[in-house]
Structures are given as C-alpha cells and as structure tokens.
Point group: D3
Chain length 242, copies 6
C-alpha cells in the first residue's frame, strides 16, 4: 500500500459556526499549514443566531481568520445556526465534500452533548460522512470517487466539550509564530469580542494543557479510532508530567 | 530540549510470570529489537504457582524466548507467583531498575482487576515506579540518577484484560519474520503448551485485531498518558475499517 | 403467570442491510431454529448503498441465507440504505411488526454510534418499538393486539460495535452442524465476498470468543435489560477461563 | 465435559460481617436451599467493631440465621472486623475453602469502594481466590484438588454498593415462604435492630427491585463474568417493565 | 452581581406526558410551592398513546394534580404522545417558553435512552432550549428577552431512568404535609391507577432514597452542570449513611 | 434533628505532602477561615522523597502557609513520603483524628490512581476513616466518641487528578483578598519553586475553572456522596456558561 507523504494530504476541518474552528484549534491548523499541509475549512452556518455580529460580518471575519491560518474556506448551508438537525442528506453532503477534498485528517466538533446543540450534531454527521465517503453505492455522490480518510480527530470548543472517555492527544503549539497566528485568527472575530474574553479563555486553556503536556502551550484533540503504528518509535513523547 | 533518537532508547518490559510478555506482546518486542532498539525484560516471579512446569523449566523457557526476541532478561524476587502484593518497597525496587535501564518506553500488564491478581498489581506498581524514578529524594534509590520515561504502555495477556476505558494503539506485526519470531518465542514455553492452546489463541487475537487495524496481524497496547505530538503528520494511519 | 414454553415463541431479528444478521449472529439463528424455535428476519434496506452487489442480487442472497438458517424473511422500506433516520413513524412501523410476530426474543444491532450509521439508528428504533408495542393507544397500530417481548438482545456486526458497558452473553455455536450452517449463510452473500474476507473475520471473532467462553466457537449478544431468574440454577456456565 | 446437575453443586457465600449475607441476599440463599442446593456461609469476622452487639452475640445470631436459611456456616479469622487488608495469604486461605466446598456458585460482596472497607476488600480477595483455586502450583493449598467455579456473583449490602457498570440479574424472591424465611433470618440479628430499621430497608429495596423485575420482590446479583449459554431458551424473562 | 432572592424565581418543569412530573418529582414541586416559589408545568402531549385514559380525562387529571401542587400548568403540542422527535423547531419553542417564564430552575426528564422514547428526547430538547434561550439571534424568539437559567435538573420517572453517571441530589420530602400533597397529586391521575400500582412504586422509591439520604422520604434530582458555591457552608448535609 | 450552625463546625483537611493542600485548594481553605470556620490541616509526611527541600524546610514552609491560611496544622507519621500503603491501622489512626477534630467537612486527595501513589492511597484511607469514625466498636479508638461527618470532598492536586466520573462543585475564590492569601500560601513553599512554576499552573487552572463557573477564579471539589437538601433554593448558581 504505497502512500504519498502524509504531510501533503490535506486537512479538512468542519465548523458549525464561523469562529468555532479558530477558538477550538486554530493553533493546530496554523501549525499544519506552516509545515506545508493544505488545510480547508468548511463552515456550516453563518452564525446568524449568535447574540453579536451579522451574518455578513461573521463570514468576513472567518475569511480573514482562514487567510491568517493559511487555509482555504467555504460556507455551506445546512439547517442554519441553532437549527441543525441530524439528517442523512446532510451527512451525504459532507461525504461529498470529503470525496472532493480527499483529506488524510478530518477535524470535527466533539460529540459531548452538553454543549451547543449544533456542535455535537455536526460532529456526529461528520463521523457518519467519513463512513459514507467510502461506500460505493450512495446514489447522491456516486459521481465522486470513494475516499477513506486516515484519522478523524475531534476538537472541543470549550473545556466542557472535551470527551471524558477518549484520551486526548496534545499538539504542541508553543512556537511563538504559531501562537501569534492563532491569536490573530481568534482576534479576527471582532464581533465576538464584545461580551466575553474568549481569546483569553482559549489561551488559558492552552497554557494549562501545556503544563499537562510538558510544553508551554498545547491543544488537545481526541481521536475517534485507535491509532495504527509500525513501531513504538512514534511514542517519543508522552504527557507524564505529574 | 534536544533529544537522542528515540529508537535508540531502550524498551523496558515487566512481566509477572515467565510467559506473560511473550504471549501478550512478544510480536511488539520482536519488532522493536529488529529495528535496533535494545529491549530488557524483567520477570517478577518464576511461575512456581502455575499448574504446569517447574521454576527451573520456566526460567529456562523464558530465557530461550528472550533470546529469540533479541532481548535481555532478568528475574527478580518480589512476593512470589500468585502472592504479589502492592507494596511501596516493590515499587521502589522497580523504580531502581528503571533508573538503571533508563528506558524511553515502559511495558506493563494492564490494570484490569478481573484477571490474574499478579498482573494488575504489577501494572499498578510499575506505574507508581515510573513516578518514583523521577523523584530525587527517595532514599533507597538516591544513588541512581533520576529518570523520566516517555511513555508507559499497558499490554493485555488475554482479551478480558484489555482496558475498556483506554483507546488501544495497534502495532502492526504482520511481517512474516516478525510473526515467526513471535510464534517461536511463545512456543519456547513448552511447559505451558500441555493444557490449552495459548499460541493459537494469541494468533487468533492478533488476526482479529489485524482486521480491526486494516493489516494482517496487530497487537494492541494501551497508553497510560496522553500522547504529545509536534504535528498531525504522526497520524497517517488509523483503524477506520468498518 | 403460566407461560407457553419459551422455545416455541418466535425469535424476531432486525437487520439494517441484507447481510448484517448473518455476519453478526447467523450462528445464533441457526442454533435456535435447529432447536425448533421459529425465526423471522426483517431487513430494513436492500443494501443499495454498498460498494458491491445490486439490490436484486443482495435480496436474493439474503433470501438464500435465510432459507439456510431455517428462518423466514421479509424486506421493509424505511429510508433506504445509508439514509436511515430516527423517526417516530419508523419505530411505530417496527412496533406493528412486533405485534404481528409476537416474539419472545428480539435481536437488533448494537447502539454503539461509532459504526455504520444505519446500525445504531435501527437498534435505537427497535428498542423504542419494543416499548411502543406495549402501549395500547398508539393510533397507527391500534388494530393489532399489544405485545410485550421477553428480552431485547443486541448483536455487533464487528468487534468495534460491541458495547463496552454491557456484559456480553456468549452463545455456544461450536457444534459442527451449526457452524456449517452459519458459514454457508455468510457465504450466500456472494456479492460481498469480493473485497474483504468477512467470513474469515467472523469465524476468527467466534474463535476468540470461544476461547473466552471456554468453548470452541461463541457469539456474543448484549442484553438491553436485566435478566430475571427464578433461581441460580440458570448459571451453570460462566466465562471464567483466565 | 459431562457435568453433575448444577442444582446439586453447592453455593458458597462469603460475608465480611455476621449479618451481611442475610441482609444483602438472604432471600436468594433461602430460595436455593429450598430447591435442594446445599449452601455454605463463610463469615470473615465476628462483627466486633460494630456499634452494637458483642462478638458472642453476633456469632450466635448468625448461626441462628444460617439455620433458618437451611445453610451451614463457619467463621474464619482474617484481620478482624474493620481491619481487613488485601493480602495474598487471605486470598489463598479463601481459595482453600473453595477447593474444599467445590461450589458451582460463589457469592461475594460487591467491589464498589464507597462502602464499608471490609466489603470490597473481601470481594476482591474472593475473586482472586476463585482464580487461585484453579492454579495447580500454589504451595499452601497443593494438598487440595484444584477447582473451577461456574459463576461468581456479587451482592450489594445497600443500594449504594450496587455496581453501576454491571447489569444486575434479578432473583425472584416473591414466594411468601421464601420472604418469610428471609425476614426471619434478618430478624435473627437482634443486636443490629436497635439503631436503624435495616429489615424494613431491605424489604423496601426488594419491593422496588420487584417493581423493576415485574415481580413482587426481587434481589439483584451482579455477575463478575459473562454468561455462557447453549441457547436463548434461557432468556424467557427480562426486566422490561417501563 | 446583586441577585433577587432565588426562592422567588420560578421553577419551570417540562413533562412529556400528563402524569410524568407528578410521579417523578411531585413531592419536590409541592415543597417548592409550599416555600413560596412559583411553579409552572408544561406538558408536551395529552397522553393519547397510553393504554388507559382519554386525552380529555388525562388533561383534566393533570390540571387537578397541578392545582393540588400549587402550580400553574399548560399543554403544548409537539409531535404527539409516542411520536416525539428531536427537532430544532421544538427546542426553539421550548426556549421561547423559558424566555417567558424566566425560571431559575428547570426540571426535565433524564437523558437515559433506555426508557420511554418521549422522555429522553424531551430532556435533550429542554437542555438545548436552555442554551438557545441565551442566544440573542434566534429569529423565531427574537421578540422575547434572552434568559439564562441557574440550574437544569433532571428527574427520573422510574428507577431505570436514573442516570448512572451523574451524582444525585436528594430532596428531603419527608414532611407529612408535603408527602400528602404529593400522594394526592399522583392519585389525581385516576385513569392510570387501573393497571399498576404506580403510587405505591413511587413511595417505595422515595422510602429507599430516604434511607440513602438519612431522612424518611427523598426524591433524587440529577444536575446537568456543576454547582457553583460561595463557600462550603452549603454542604451541611450529605448522604453518608452506610 | 437540631443542628449547630454548619459554618462553625470545623473543616479537616488531609494532605499527603507538605504542599499538596495549598496547591490543590488553598483558596478554599482561605475562604472558609475568612468566614469564621475553624480549619485544621493534617499532613501525612514531611515531603522527604521530593527532589527539592529538606524535611525541616518543608515542615517550616507548611507551617508558614497554614498560618497564612488561618488554619492549624499537625504532622503525622504514616509510612513516609513515597512509601504510603493502604493499611487498616492508618485508616483507624485517621479515624481517631476525625473523632477528635469532629469536622463537618473533610477534604482529601482524589482517588484517581494515575497520580502520585501517596495521593490516592491517602484519599482511600480518609474515606475509610470517615466510616470507621462512626463505628462504635473499633477497639483502638473506643475511648473517643463516635463522629459522623457531613461531607467528604476530594481535591485534585493537578488537572490529571480530577475525577472524571464525579461532577465537580466549583468554589468561587475570585475575591482579591482570598486570591492573595492563596497565592502567598503557595509561595510559602519556597523549596518547591525552583523547578517548575507550580503557582502559575494553579492560578491558570483556577482561571480556566473560573471561566467554566462564570466567575473570575474557581477551585473544583468533588463530593464523595450525594448532597441532601431541604429545597432547591440551594441551587441559585450553576456552571452553565457555554
């Protein structure tokens, strides 16, 4: 099974709202693109149910943030912000995007149900879509070649959304240029800055996770499936700090 | 934090009985030594409470198996087979061995309590020992330089001993020379072959786990702590087969 | 509460796709019919989203397999393969079938969500249906007499779909005539044989579970509800092998 | 593997204190002995740390209760009431008793740690003992023939001690003569009646569990290992009431 | 952050069927109204799928029960009894009610899925609604002022519906006048009395939970989110009885 | 059951090492003493196995910290730092202290086993001790009057030690004078400041938990047992922020 170098395979990240990806894992995306991996962001609403910011403003903010992160971005229409439902048609639409982008790595919101309802519903449908993208006979997307991803990783928009039954993987985002990119991408969401200090909260989280991981700043991701490795050489670092 | 190449850092594996390591993860040890990593096995009883085989026979079998796997081996005396208790003195003794061998990777039996009582007790004490090896003031081992491992990975001697709350990592052991080494190391335990077909059971397990991992044969290990990675390039394979 | 002998009460098994039941628990069905229990299979799609096999072929394969297992079979239309959604109307339709077949035992796919999305959705709706079948006032099925099943047991199409929070019950399928029937029922799904060796995988699983259960081959089922027993005489065998 | 009828194989029940067995599962013991199964109770302290009752009184009460339940009883000395520790020597002592009594069914206190410390420690050691009883080489008990039990079932002395991760099995104890025996066995513990109304509490629990099980009164037991069955005929009753 | 006294903020309780609230937590509602807190009950079907009682009868029974409990009541139409589905439109409708009633405390059925399907679906949507009530931009309810509740507490209609992963909070309902109100509110559901003795079952549950809580009768509620307290003075009572 | 005001009943906190209490929950202790509640700290080693600081230095640091927090402090000898074992004699010794101090609230390290081995062992024995303190017949402490605490709350020295199966309770420690006291108590452990920035880590944790709790800084505690309340008036604040 010869394989093109994984760092060239794209990263495909799904977000329910214009700012979810940047706040939850913008540092990871910055790191990947800085290493040369293409990243594509798919935003599934325009944030129109939020308390602050118009749809137009929020789309523009997300586009600016994606540019800062070195990623391409697109917006799709599912049921609208705060209206997302689990539907087979949505999952198939997402599967079609997977077949087009053909990513190695998929990022999706965690499945913890005690968070914004759009988050776990989107995460559920992205997971379903990763399966549907492999099945040859799904009529709506039969014109696109089947595709199998390598890994589906969940992100958590807040600490509450971190799955308690999945062991996290910490991505080291301590490098100052990565941190700066992440911060600027979060700050691009100007309309969301008025009520709470989300940027400070995410940097606090990354600092605490950095303590856990033995680095300065870290972001946790949660793998949906077991890893498969060729040898233990892959485990040169673990989060054994305490 | 410059670091010597991890594949040169030793693997240190603890087993409660002379055949546990070979049956649970002999294929992993064979793979690591075949890649040039030193491996050291520490066996904490002589299997004297088993139904078959004398202590002398079982030690000889384990030594033969270790040689086949390309690993060094030593036997230590704790409380004796089927008599192991959780004691601070034992954990400190294990910590001393960790300081001497200075491994990157530590293997220990899983902590699932519904298995042979020696298994989870040893696993618990190895985990404690990995901490104690870092603390400077433990009097009994103060003459040995502190050491921090990179990862503690648990193995499961049987399917029942696989932790249900830790996501496994599958090690691909499909290569025919690795499989052959593993099989011969298991078969070296001649005294244990008389009652049940343990070799066939482990190969059946590895085949089923291979199906799960998308390879021919795989062995699951269970990380005690989160992984820390520099980028997602590490995730080029996942067990998304079904 | 006098009761007709349970072995005469039918088994009703729901499958999302034409081959799910045979691969997951064909051996159990063969065993039950060989003991004289009527078995009825309800397949909720024609497998039209699979990579291989036309709907016509797959229906024919399932009919052949059911005949081999000594079971009757019917196909119902819900949302179609890979399109299943959780809808009250579906659950009520399934409840109507339960009222008609009046089974003691119900088999359904497990509720583990990290598998084919049709599986856990069908399992959820079968569980709901088992409740709705008892409620007298559901308008759509008021013409059918209420029915209470004895037990709902989940099957797992793959090892990944085995619920980790339910203790399995192992059904001994070691008898050579049962194994032969199971194997031939799986092999009846000719169209699914081209890509992966599903038959070998299921037999490997049954062999490993046989090791766990102290028999040659076993299939795990997962009870939705506590068992109720008259005495401990029912527990003459347990899976204490290691 | 020919097998003597399971209902003739003894039941062996371990209790940490003189009244634990009667309060937790006296109705089950009464039912089994009424069906002709021999039952032997092993009490591991004399209740000397309790607030009420002397050791002598409590032993006499337990003997009276055992007689009412139709069971034999013996007292063994481990570390004393409220002093129990997990020791290999204790487990081996219990394994020796298992080899002598040769039970099909073993009853032990549940492993929930948030209860009286003697309870879960005894439960842990009974589980270990069930393994050790099978191992041929344990020196202290080599003069006794190895023995493998069929099932280890945990009982819960209070609702808090019911394991939340094991599906209960409900034993129907609704028959008036069984209930009467159970009640009289509990009431035999006169010294414990002065502070709280334990008898009323257990009958309340049994009534609630009866509601859950669809009978008048039921007692839950929690199997340590999967059941192995020959067919689904065993599942003629399930606790599907709501 | 000055705050009006919490006991004046209303309690808002959602029920899927006319009798769920009374049976699950009528004693809690009686206690709160007796302390002067306004309580409003929202019933989301007319119980038309139940085995006994017409819609008209059941609405009248619920109105009588609410009056006994000192609560106001309204009926809303979602999908109908036994037909409830998780829809964004429903959650938004519930969020609108939250904005109108502006409660401190929200009661909803638990999310345990192995119960009547209407229960956990309503619970899920009430939780979603509590979030949506805070978001300023949800178009359908933009005319109502945003509202943040203090706590969402789940109730369990039966013992099976008690979440096993949330620590209960026991509400002491032992006072005779509270118990009498609760009992009369349950007995107001005359149409449901014909088949099973639900009243006796709930009183048995409350008695057992009273034993656990160290009082005569108690009802468990399950908080969706961590509590936030100013000091430990709040913890003057705990359920440490055994 | 008339009861003295709970805020006058002492707080009793057990720590395995001289700095554990201050780092894990010094802010909570400062808050309680500032409200007039007596607090007594019992430290079960002198920290002699740590990498930095002599026993004498560490005891002096802890005494200074306790004084800053307004608490009394004592040191007891169990097995020594990094040598703690679970022994009945230790638990009884702790029970004797409980009987002497007669606290309403008990603080102990969490039971998560993947942390410093002294932590969870001490936590386990404190929980046992809280039970033993109630039993009248324990010979070693019969001269002290039995005592029942109100609540046992666990603290977590690091984020990894937070129990994932217990819902936290957040204590608001945002007041500047409380924060200042906490910080100075942590900084009193001068010998521990040389290697890692523990103070900064704990303040980062408190800031993140403050975000979760809707306050500036918060410390989580984890109740061992259900709360019992008289009414819902106690729930005027919940951590529903996201």
């Amino acid at each position: 099974m010869p394989k093109s170098p994984p760092e060239l395979s794209p990263l495909l990240a799904f977000g329910a709202h214009p700012d979810d990806l940047e706040f939850a894992c913008g540092g990871v995306i910055a790191k990947e693109t800085s290493l040369g991996r293409p990243a594509h962001l798919v935003i599934c609403s325009r944030g129109e149910a939020g308390t602050n910011g118009t749809s137009t403003e929020r789309v523009a903010e997300a586009e600016r943030a994606a540019a800062l992160l070195g990623a391409t971005i697109e917006f799709i229409q599912l049921d609208g912000d705060a209206h997302l439902e689990i539907r087979a048609a949505h999952a198939i639409q997402l599967a079609g995007i997977i077949r087009q982008v053909r990513p190695a790595i998929l990022l999706a919101p965690s499945l913890v149900e005690n968070q914004h309802p759009d988050h776990w519903r989107l995460g559920t449908m992205v997971r379903d879509a990763a399966r549907l993208a492999r099945y040859g006979g799904v009529a709506e997307i039969r014109n696109l070649t089947s595709h199998a991803i390598d890994q589906l990783l969940f992100y958590a928009v807040t600490a509450e959304a971190e799955p308690r039954d999945l062991t996290p993987i910490f991505i080291d985002v301590s490098a100052s240029e990565i941190l700066a990119l992440w911060k600027s991408a979060m700050e691009a969401h100007v309309s969301q800055a008025s009520t709470r200090n989300y940027v400070e909260m995410q940097l606090t989280r990354a600092r605490l996770n950095g303590h856990r991981a033995g680095v300065t700043q870290a972001i946790p991701l949660f793998p949906n499936d077991p890893l498969v490795v060729d040898s233990l050489a892959q485990f040169q670092r673990g989060a054994r700090r305490f």
